[in-house]
Symmetry: D2
Subunit: 427 residues, 4 copies
């Protein structure tokens, strides 16, 4: 089971994991200018500076302030700025206004990080179980913000007609186009999903991943790999974005209102060919790689066009029960994070890495779920309405942050995350 | 099994059920003036005239036009006006503009109804199986619009400071306040829900109710009755609408943006007491009756405040498997439809009638669901995103239209339907 | 001077004018159904029922309630519904909600009118000067609402794909196309405009028309007639709606946001020809008649395209100083109000009747203007920002309600009024 | 006359004025970080980087590109980014998206400025009359953007709860509270206003300031000084923001929708006292200084409350005909620009400097006005709708940029400019 769970803060190396996670965030932000790190490109996104500070505020508030005697806040005025949505932590700066905070500067935020890193590094060996759990929660929280930071920078740079790049483009890796999908039959009958108490003793999991519980799986099969860019272009060329009969009513209104005709960040050259705008700027589309940056509406319409459907969360999670969550194409800080073609192999491939996979399951509580009390209990439960579960991990998810019970969630119209889909079918 | 399903069009009484359903619609509309029947009070609502005509258009298009030789449309221009959302049926009048159609008048719409009633009555004995199925679908469709018509009129009249009434108020029926909730344990393990092929041979069901399939129920119990108005007032008085910690984030934003402080249609007298605006105008609140006109957000917040939760669809449906769906407080056309106190008795009470009950289940397809081909296939499947399932029936649901597998659905912020809640708990 | 002013309530025929004005309103509303009279088609418009009641409320409140002893309100609850914007008169029903008032019915509103007509008819002979002035104000107020009622009904019927008609179409009156515009030089130097105290002794004028004051006119000329539909089609065909260089920046944004390509109510047949939707339904466009239903933006763009400009209010008013305001094509209740071709003649033609004429003058107070104290003082002054003056009268303006000093006003984007333009030039 | 006009580019010092104006812009931007210079705080504002680049683009496009052989654009991609609204110059980056351009950086923009400064400095001696006129136009254009840059930075910093400052606060200058307003009678009869051809030979003026033309002034007087902060606090304390009877209807809606209760940038301390947020951060309110940052609605309501009115443009301009436009409290780059108390003296004081003064005159063309052909002709004329003229100059207007004929203009709800008011009255 241990392989399914993220690494945990071990008592013999208290600061090492802390240092590594914090350093990755700083490495991701290193190419950013003060301006890059300040601007908020839409209400759903946050400035990089805010990600850098908010993840630090988490440690400062819930560990240093609450559990380390004598700790003085770096700046009394900053908690108001860098609290995200924890009502129990008091008033906070309105989310759509985050991009107005030109000061403190990026340099000052980095100094804040150093200050808290040092204080926490010094305090860590002496911390009891509860604050140590909060440190682990803070690190997983920070890993989520690493992916958000990349998503938000990509969205910001996409608004700039000059198409700036954060990473150098990777050299081309010619890949054979994958053959047709193979259907891998899943288990039928009672199975267990979710993260249980025993799992938590072995590694971290968010509260919403549990408890472990039984579900009944009806006969079904999953595609061995996600839908590729090449297949998506067929959908476009078959008029997929113009044929209402494949779309949910709400999705069809979304297509019409926003004149959607391709995944987010796809753009047409003057010669009519598509390219994608990515974290390495303007790039050709890799036909063999999984399609990314599609909404739930698009994923559902594509599935409808093929005559199949999206998997349920339970089907996906059961299929992933034996897979190694650290083996895929995930974020390690080197080179542009981008979905890559499936590597040859048997069974259900690319479960962890490349793209998050939309499921047809709404993000609702598992049977028996109870939110933790206090501010940290606001972490997950209060989002359980109107959103859909995405499973797995993407090329922008930090390695070591993944497990089968992980529940990512977004609203059905959102697509600035690295989200694709895998087909499923009833048997 | 027959008792779980709505009545079906029997070959020995072809026109009787048709006539009865159509007549009830006309009876509900009888007290309306031409103006009452024309105005659309919000985008989600439709004018009564539109309900009267749209249900008629359904029979005219899918039965008379498609299956009865020589039938001439009542008016060639009307299908454009009275199609609702069937993309396959071509262009249609924009939904938010439905209230602009002052002409044709209510009298002309009623003439349209008579024309189609007569043509269909004459054709019915000679119809084959497929058109007869469509007639049955049309009648169930019309029953849904009967409830919508009442909801929409109530919403319209609620905009009028003069507080008009559609029905005479019912005489007071003093009822003892119900005691504390009793918890009725549900079944644990594999159960079957949904409507199967065998059920359909016995009675009508919508496509989205099937197929019949297995689910696993974890240990749980349901309250024996819905939450009452008296209990809701306790919630209000305990500051329930002002304590963020009980609310979903989206729900809290909804409360703040709309300054919600009570169920829809509750209003405060100058003396600080609440009254409700209903289909019989201004009325006192019956403390023993189920609370109605609450959103999913409110239902979830109330449940959170009590420390319990909403039931899942499967838990509810399994609990209702033996209940008589025609025995409750439902619409029969006599007197103001309003939720009433539970009658004494054992077990899970008030499942059908009084109020629809919010579940924590998103309205997604059952395993194995496939939409029917063609325009009538647009009936249910295309709404399967972002909405929640409500089970049972309300005081405004026509008697004979209910069954355990029935899936009503609304967005979480909606509350102009007669919607309440029943608590559930994990065991 | 008398010819410039509207008729006044003479002491020897106290009830005759009152009866005539009130009867015209009722005649205009006679073809309306209860539904027609109830619906509000946009926020700027009001339901016909509201016009019928509000004009009555004016007499009831400011004359009967305030000046006739023993008068009892027809219904205590109605003033809240039928006050328009008089803050001093207390709370009132929100303007965008006027279309929700399905009850009272049209018949009840007509009964209200009869009640107030009778009470006021009985009281009139005994009224003193101040209430008699208020009656005269009320009658002029009602004449304004007669035109608004027609504008609002046209707008409502325009939303209906069935294109209903309020009037029978007039027989075709073949007219010779007018020749090119003739330029009529205006006076240069100091002139007087506005309505003075002496004028008011002879006839009614609104407070905003005064005081009489001097202005300086720079050398200029006015076109002898308004721009015609035929000329407007040339503008369309020359790409007038697609050439930004002729448009005010705000106007260009309005064109693009609303995809404007012709005057309001112009529609293209499938054969590419334009027709207009008017109060007699679908009608051919009379090329020789003045263009109507254009916004200030369109009027300004057209003028810019020709190299000329719109007149100032003072230029127009001085040119009209000798014209007979009762001689033009104005509302008399018989047949569809519609702009008609200029009749042959010399000088500045069609000043009163056919179409209101946009001027380049913002609706600001005349030098020395002071609003009247109290509720009736809210009549005009509080609108003096952001709107433009239109001069003259239209085919829907009641005859007898016009004079050179009259100041009509609308926002620059509005065009549901009968508004056209006349060119001017500097000399 | 020369004293009324801005300085002009003289042939004997071709580069000196150019260098001085350009250097002031850079000095104003010097304290800004890259982030400060990038963010756009509202749609009406622009980032400082954009001001720095756009003013440079003006010289590059209209002088260097069009009139200097062999000049190569600094960057081919930048004109798309830094064109403001010149339709004739082709497609441009959408205004609300200006704040998304984190790259080029502030340093790159400053390099762009140096490049163009050098190229233009080198070319200037050899330029003909037309390009030299365009340079002068560009300098006046840049001076306008100097004030806009300050306005926009103040607005941006006002969004930041940390209340950053651009300037050090000025030392307190105790000033005696001014006594009651003195009324200075203006001229009655025909006067001339506007900028004529002769004036232009002496100094620069924008096209919209002309032509010189006659107007008639009715008997009137102007207050000797603008309304002060102390007087405004009396208005607040008298309930001025809560009494509808003093407000234009549109203004009252604006007050209610935005919950306005004081000038922009005024904030209440916890002790109930007002302070202002300015370019030097949080500052006490100087009761003797002119009130600033009020909208037209507020200015009009204040005037109505006093029983007086706003001046017309002509009244103001005639009163200023002899005043020295360079003698007031204007921008010179040293210290926080802020309105200061009137200095003792006779006559109409503070006409130029401290605050722009709202007039009751809409921004419409002067008689005989014609826009220049081509892109530079888009400069002023296309804004002539819906806006009001402000006269004079503010503490943030560059010295040397002012004259009596100057026409500043804003929409009535805008108040992020340094705008106050002076009372006028009819005699």
């Amino acid at each position: 089971m241990a392989s399914r769970m993220g690494a945990r803060l071990k008592s013999d190396a208290p600061g090492q994991r802390f240092g590594a996670v914090r350093a990755l965030t700083e490495a991701l932000a290193a190419p950013l200018s003060d301006a890059d790190a300040t601007v908020q490109s839409m209400e759903d996104a946050s400035p990089a500076k805010w990600h850098l500070a908010h993840t630090t505020w988490f440690f400062e508030s819930f560990v240093l302030r609450d559990h380390v005697e004598g700790y003085a806040l770096f700046d009394e005025a900053w908690p108001f700025l860098f609290n995200s949505y924890y009502e129990a932590e008091g008033e906070r700066h309105a989310r759509p206004q985050r991009g107005m905070i030109t000061r403190p500067s990026l340099d000052e935020i980095l100094a804040y990080r150093r200050h808290v890193n040092e204080a926490l590094g010094a305090a860590l060996p002496g911390l009891g179980d509860r604050p140590r759990e909060l440190v682990e929660l803070g690190l997983n929280h920070e890993q989520q913000h690493q992916e958000l930071l990349l998503m938000d920078i990509q969205h910001l740079f996409a608004q700039n007609p000059l198409e700036p790049a954060l990473f150098d483009p990777a050299p081309a890796e010619p890949a054979e186009a994958p053959g047709p999908v193979e259907w891998i039959e899943g288990r039928t009958g009672e199975v267990e999903i979710g993260c249980g108490a025993a799992d938590r003793r072995e590694g971290f999991a968010f509260d919403c991943e549990g408890p472990r519980h039984k579900v009944y799986l009806n006969p079904h099969a999953l595609a061995d790999r996600p839908v590729t860019n090449g297949e998506w272009i067929e959908f476009i060329e078959a008029g997929g974005y113009r044929r209402h009969e494949h779309w949910l009513m709400e999705g069809w209104a979304w297509v019409e209102d926003n004149r959607v005709e391709a995944p987010l960040y796809w753009r047409k050259e003057k010669n009519g060919r598509w390219y994608r705008f990515g974290l390495a700027g303007r790039q050709p589309i890799d036909l063999s790689a999984p399609v990314s940056h599609v909404s739930y509406y698009e994923a559902d319409a594509y599935a409808s066009w093929t005559g199949f459907r999206l998997p349920s969360e339970a089907e996906w999670e059961d299929a992933a029960r034996e897979a190694d969550p650290a083996a895929g194409n995930q974020l390690d800080g080197a080179g542009e994070p981008r979905p890559r073609p499936a590597r040859p192999g048997d069974g259900v491939k690319q479960l962890f890495g490349d793209v998050w996979e939309w499921t047809q399951s709404a993000y609702q509580p598992h049977p028996g779920f109870r939110a933790a009390p206090g501010a940290v209990g606001e972490y997950n439960g209060k989002f359980m309405v109107g959103q859909y579960v995405l499973k797995g991990a993407s090329c922008a998810t930090p390695r070591g942050h993944s497990r089968a019970s992980y529940r990512n969630f977004f609203y059905p119209h959102m697509r600035w995350q690295f989200a694709g889909l895998r087909l499923a079918r009833d048997l």
